[in-house]
Symmetry: C2
Subunit: 156 residues, 2 copies
C-alpha cells in the first residue's frame, strides 16, 4: 500500500471515529490531516484542496477545532493567510474537565428525578440514589486524577 493512500485511509478513519463520537466527520478529517501531513503548517486553501471539501465546511469545522483548542492559528508577518497547526499548547486536562460537565448534567437528572418521586424507598429511588452516588464519586475523584497528571507531566 502506498504511503499516501495509507494516510488518506487514516484521515477517513478519523472522520468516521469523530462521527461515532458525535462530532462531524469533516472535523475528524481536518484533525486527521493535521496529524499525518508533513507540512509543519497548513493553510485554509490547502485543506480544501487536500480534503476535497467546500470552503464553508472547512470554515465551520476548523472554527470548531480552534474553539476546542485542538488547533492553533499561525500568522506570518507579510502574509495574508492564516496557517493552522495542531496546537502545541493543547491542554488535555482542561479538555477533559469540560467533557466532565456532561457527567454533571447527567447527575443532575438523577437528583432531579429523585425529587419527583413519591417514594424515596422503592427500587427506582434506590437506583437513582446509587447512580447519583457513583457520579458524585467520579466528579469528586476526577480532578485529583487530573492533578496527578499535572504532577507527572511537569517532571518531563
Amino acid at each position: 500500500m502506498s504511503l499516501d493512500t495509507e494516510r488518506d485511509r487514516f484521515i477517513e478513519d478519523n472522520g468516521l471515529l469523530f462521527e461515532r463520537l458525535g462530532v462531524t466527520r469533516m472535523s475528524g478529517r481536518i484533525l486527521g490531516y493535521l496529524m499525518v501531513t508533513d507540512k509543519e503548517k497548513v493553510s485554509f486553501s490547502e485543506m480544501t484542496e487536500a480534503l476535497q471539501a467546500s470552503k464553508s465546511s472547512i470554515s465551520t469545522n476548523l472554527k470548531m477545532l480552534l474553539q476546542i483548542g485542538f488547533v492553533k492559528p499561525l500568522t506570518i508577518p507579510g502574509e495574508r493567510k492564516t496557517y493552522y497547526m495542531l496546537s502545541p499548547e493543547m491542554d488535555w486536562k482542561a479538555y477533559f474537565s469540560e467533557r466532565l460537565e456532561m457527567i454533571g448534567i447527567m447527575n443532575n437528572m438523577f437528583k432531579k428525578g429523585l425529587t419527583l418521586r413519591s417514594s424515596t424507598k422503592d427500587n427506582a429511588a434506590q437506583w437513582l440514589r446509587e447512580a447519583s452516588e457513583f457520579y458524585d464519586f467520579i466528579i469528586e475523584e476526577f480532578p485529583a486524577m487530573l492533578k496527578r497528571w499535572e504532577e507527572k507531566s511537569k517532571t518531563t
Copy 2:
C-alpha cells in the same frame, strides 16, 4: 405546575439529554419514565401508552437499555407479559469501563498517526505523543479509580 406535567417535562428532558449524548431520544424517554413513575414495574404496553410511541420504537430502544444493563426484565408466573424496571443490579463500574473503550480507540488513532509520520520530532509528532501519553495515563488510572469506588460502596 402539576406534578404530572413536571414529570412529563423530566421525561422529555431526559430524551433530549440522551440525544445530546448520541443515543436515541426514545431510549432517554423510556429511562426517564422508569425514573419517575410510581409503578414498581412497567409493562411494554404501558410504555407505548405513557410515551405515546410506536411498539417498534419501544421494542428497539428497550432492547438497547436491557443490553446496556440499565433496565431489567421481570416476569411473573401465570402472567404472559414481561415487566420492566430499573435494574437493581446496575453495575456502574462495568458501564464506565465499557465507555472507556472509546478512549482506547482514540488513543490507538494517536499511536497509528505517529507511525504514519515521516518525522518523529516535529510539532505534529510531539502533539501526538503528548496526546497518547495523556490517554495512556487515563486508561491506566481509571481502573484504580473504579476499584476505589468498589471499596467505598462495599462498606455501605
